[in-house]
């Protein structure tokens, strides 16, 4: 038995020795590969590079990407560099795809999506000196793409366009006597598109006169992107320290409850559709049919309203004259849509900045940077504006285009557009906020005994609860 047992033990010992020796050797070998850092932006273009470019679906559908790629490929033909459509989902997840070589080299996404890649170092910090549009893009747009890593502030993306809400309204639905009755400051602009108090009053009147069939302002409150601005306007914020500190959550800060009351008041002059999202997609046809006088949405959907109005038989000239986009109206400082006595304040809205970033997994960082510079040049951003109707982040293009592009850029720089937080914890704000907005929009449709938000104290308490929920979502289960 002894000899046989020894043979078995010897066999096991040999296997164990192999496992332990080679396992440890492997671990040491990996450890030794650490610390081979280098700056990858040398300025030398990688000849023969093939860049995979991830663009958004609209740019692809409208033919902008094709134009961009053709122009770039022609310009860089002498270096043998070509850019191709990455042919991936526009929301591709670099975190999961990049390390395995499947991600794009250059990606175009909103700032909150791009910046969540920073912690995992999936996108590269860009060499500031080599970015051509550095001086013509405003500071706030750059802030959306800046983060501090290893104690050093870096830029991780190049802004292309600014996303900010606008008021869409039908000029032909204004009361005939608006110049006498609805233009107190006699500036030639209807008060209901300048001040929320007047839009509220007009909405109430329109709803009452039509027996609840027609509305003034209508928009679902379910989407925090369009609703959180009312809280911001009265002192609320999402994260402290310019939206970079997730431990400081402030939707209940300052007098944010006044913003809650504004939402409740506005909901009361709409109908129950403002509680859920069933009105969101129907807003285009409802504005076209005249059921709604005004709504708020982003500039890039202007053509959707136009298409619906055309379908209703309006001519292009008529639409151009009567479908008007305007800056967001001002809010009463009192936080009460029935009280103008304290004057007005800017209405803040959440916005975003879309831009290009370079994947850390690219084999051609210098060619990718050349592409980003090319795509953010004056000519290409102007063309993008022409084809897609985007609001350029480049101030030179915005001022040449004028109109709302300039207004939105000014709003961004003046802080009326609050850029979505660029930290990954931002993903955890939406559900608690959405729940709160649904709840407060529902309140006017409850019976008086069931009101949950009939005092500012109750609204404040609910906002504190929202902040706690977000804090819990971010921190409570962290190890």
């Amino acid at each position: 038995m002894g000899k046989n047992l020894s043979a078995v033990v010897a066999h096991i010992a040999v296997i164990l020795a192999i496992i332990i020796t080679l396992g440890l050797a492997g671990a040491f070998a990996q450890g030794a590969s650490a610390g081979q850092g280098s700056d990858r932006f040398t300025g030398e273009l990688e000849e023969g590079a093939v860049l995979r470019i991830l663009e958004n679906d609209t740019a692809i559908k409208q033919g902008y990407l094709e134009e961009l790629l053709d122009a770039f490929n022609a310009a860089y033909a002498e270096y043998g560099i070509t850019a191709v459509d990455a042919n991936m989902d526009q929301y591709t997840d670099l975190e999961n795809d990049g390390p395995y070589g499947y991600g794009p080299d250059v990606l175009y996404q909103a700032n909150d999506r791009i910046m969540r890649y920073v912690d995992g170092r999936h996108i590269m910090p860009l060499p500031v000196d080599a970015i051509d549009c550095l001086d013509v893009v405003g500071d706030r747009a750059w802030m959306a793409y800046s983060a501090t890593t290893d104690g050093q502030a870096n830029i991780f993306g190049v802004p292309v366009n600014v996303q900010g809400p606008l008021l869409y309204y039908r000029k032909d639905l204004l009361p005939e006597n608006w110049e006498e009755e609805w233009d107190d400051d006699k500036n030639g602009v209807p008060d209901m598109v300048e001040y929320w108090t007047d839009l509220y009053r007009f909405s109430k009147q329109r709803k009452e006169e039509s027996g609840g069939q027609e509305f003034g302002y209508m928009r679902s409150f379910l989407e925090p992107y369009f609703s959180v601005g009312y809280l911001y306007s009265y002192g609320g914020y999402t994260f402290g320290n310019n939206n970079t500190d997730p431990s400081d959550i402030g939707h209940s800060a300052g007098n944010a409850e006044l913003g809650g009351r504004v939402i409740r008041q506005l909901a009361s002059v709409m109908d129950e559709r403002c509680i859920d999202d069933s009105v969101t997609t129907g807003a285009y046809s409802a504005l076209a049919s005249g059921e709604f006088f005004a709504t708020i949405t982003t500039p890039d959907v202007y053509t959707m309203f136009v298409d619906e109005m055309k379908a209703d038989g309006y001519s292009e000239e008529y639409i151009a004259e009567n479908l008007v986009t305007a800056d967001i109206p001002m809010l009463p400082a009192s936080g009460d849509l029935e009280d103008e006595s304290e004057g007005f304040i800017e209405c803040k809205m959440m916005g975003g900045v879309n831009g290009y970033a370079i994947s850390s997994y690219t084999d051609y960082p210098n060619a990718a940077l050349a592409f980003v510079n090319f795509a953010t040049s004056y000519e290409m951003v102007s063309r993008r504006n022409e084809l897609l109707g985007i609001v350029p982040a480049r101030s030179d293009v915005a001022s040449d285009v004028g109109g709302l592009s300039e207004v939105i850029n000014t709003n961004l720089e003046e802080g009326s557009i609050v850029v979505m937080p660029s930290i990954k914890e931002n993903a955890q704000i939406w559900t608690p906020l959405q729940t709160f907005f649904q709840d407060i929009a529902k309140d006017p449709y409850r019976t008086a005994e069931e009101y949950k938000y009939d005092t500012l104290e109750k609204i404040k308490a609910a906002l504190v609860n929202v902040d706690e929920q977000i804090y819990d979502a971010i921190f409570t289960l962290r190890g």
Partner: protein, 469 residues
């Protein structure tokens, strides 16, 4: 009546209990037997067997069993090659889960803890396979020795191969499925279970390195103030939901099948088409349609408002029980057709003589249903019923599509219609807490398996298996 039921339950459990007890009772004897055989090999094995103990296949080669010897030797070589090339690394990585954090900015590849865990599990499975083959190799060599000692000719390789296609065909047939199940089923299950013992999630996602935290996640679930009340609220609703929805779908399906089985019903095929159409439409599309129908802007509210009423928030924040009932209804819409098809198939196999005899004995239609149809259908469908219960218990889609995106007061990252699986999703996907999610899914698994086992043990399918065979 109640006493009789209690006695039935007791008997069923005691019968099962007796079997389990007998299995455990026999365990020491069976283990002793295995050890005795191992001892016999160690004591009686000759030099050639010892050679196989040292190096797989050597004994067989010494006995001139060339093909088998070479095959075993190749297994040994393949295993050693695997461990030298990567298996050893993978096994060690399983314990460390990585030591070097990757940094794409500096081109440091580093370790991916999640991949290391997966490859580590695979290495353990490979090691287990190797151990099984190693033991088989020794037993085989000892069998050759025994044959040689008794002057019998050992089985030729050809004969053993032909046995694998005849007497031992089960081994041949099951070999590939076992490998497939190990890689595609057991590996992910073990992976998911092991995730519950790490800190994977939150900030700790690759490239950050994951660590083993053992029972910390379970401790956190038990000690976190907000967690337990939410768990029990959701769990209570989950049980109610699973029981009600399973019963509703099953009996409504059976009722529909019985109705369409009636001789007096004209155009049965035509009527059967409608539930099948509902079944054919992808579930999530149906649910989105239901959500729209019951929304404030949907057709139902439109009709209510047009009729002079006030719009109803069927699925809104205040609609706890209305939303739950709509969920039950939508789920029934999706699942009754499959229950109906199942019952239709089973009813077509019923022995009509039984009904004839019952009618002669004066049994009413209800009596016939309760005493003949229901026991037979229940017997035949109990395993399906249990699987439907589990599917309903873990029904993610219904409330995700109908009423997702709400966190209610008094609930921790959940709403009052969420089931445990939705809560699990909220935590693990929406909020990135993968390890906590895995810990909860283990709890869900334990709960559902206990319920399923208990239901199955009490069912006629188990108790009266012989009766119907």
């Amino acid at each position: 009546m109640q006493e009789a039921q209690t006695t039935k339950v007791k008997n069923a459990f005691s019968e099962r209990g007796r079997k389990i007890a007998a299995w455990f009772k026999g365990l020491p004897a069976r283990t002793k037997e295995k050890f005795a055989f191992a001892r016999e090999i160690l004591n009686q094995g000759n030099g050639k067997v010892r050679a196989s103990m040292l190096l797989m296949g050597m004994g067989q080669l010494l006995y001139r069993q060339w093909a088998k010897g070479i095959l075993y030797l190749l297994v040994e070589i393949a295993f050693l090659a695997y461990f030298i090339l990567r298996g050893a690394d993978d096994l060690l990585g399983f314990f460390t889960l990585g030591t070097v954090e990757s940094n794409a900015w500096y081109g440091i590849e580093g370790d991916n803890s999640v991949i290391m865990m997966l490859m580590g599990i695979l290495a353990w499975i490979a090691l287990l396979f190797y151990a099984v083959l190693y033991i088989a190799n020794i037993k085989d060599c000892y069998a050759i020795q025994c044959a040689a000692d008794t002057l019998k000719a050992p089985k030729s390789f050809k004969k053993e191969l032909s046995e694998l296609l005849d007497k031992k065909f089960y081994k041949t047939a099951l070999a590939l499925p076992i490998v497939g199940v190990s890689v595609f089923s057991i590996l992910p299950i073990i992976f998911m279970i092991l995730i519950a013992f790490t800190n994977y999630g939150g900030d700790i996602v690759p490239p950050a390195l994951v660590d083993w935290v053992w029972l910390d996640n379970f401790g956190r679930i038990l000690t976190l103030g907000q967690f337990a009340p939410t768990f029990f609220k959701i769990f209570g609703w989950n049980i109610i939901w699973a029981v009600l929805s399973t019963a509703l779908n099953y009996f409504a399906g059976l009722g529909l099948a019985l109705l369409l089985n009636k001789k007096c019903v004209k155009g049965k095929t035509f009527w059967r088409l409608f539930p099948i159409l509902a079944y054919a439409v992808p579930g999530f599309i149906t649910l989105i349609a239901f959500k729209y129908m019951f929304s404030y802007g949907g057709p139902i509210n439109q009709m209510i408002v047009d009729a002079g009423g006030t719009a109803i928030g069927f699925l809104d924040i205040d609609a706890k029980w209305t939303a739950r009932l709509i969920g039950l209804f939508a789920n029934a819409w999706l699942n009754i057709p499959s229950s109906m098809l199942l019952a239709t198939g089973i009813l077509s196999n019923m022995n009509t003589d039984l009904y004839e005899a019952a009618r002669v004995d004066g049994a009413s239609a209800w009596k016939q249903f309760v005493k003949i149809t229901l026991p037979y259908v229940l017997f035949a469908t109990m395993p399906v019923l249990i699987s439907q219960f589990i599917a309903n218990f873990n029904n993610f889609g219904i409330f995700y599509f109908l009423r997702g995106g709400l966190y209610m007061e008094g609930y921790f990252l959940a709403s009052d219609t969420d089931l445990l699986i939705n809560w699990l999703y909220n935590m693990s996907i929406d909020n990135n807490y993968y390890s906590i999610g895995a810990a909860i899914s283990i709890i869900i698994f334990i709960v559902t398996s206990v319920i399923s086992l208990a239901v199955y043990v009490l069912s006629p399918s188990y108790k009266q298996e012989e009766t119907y065979q």
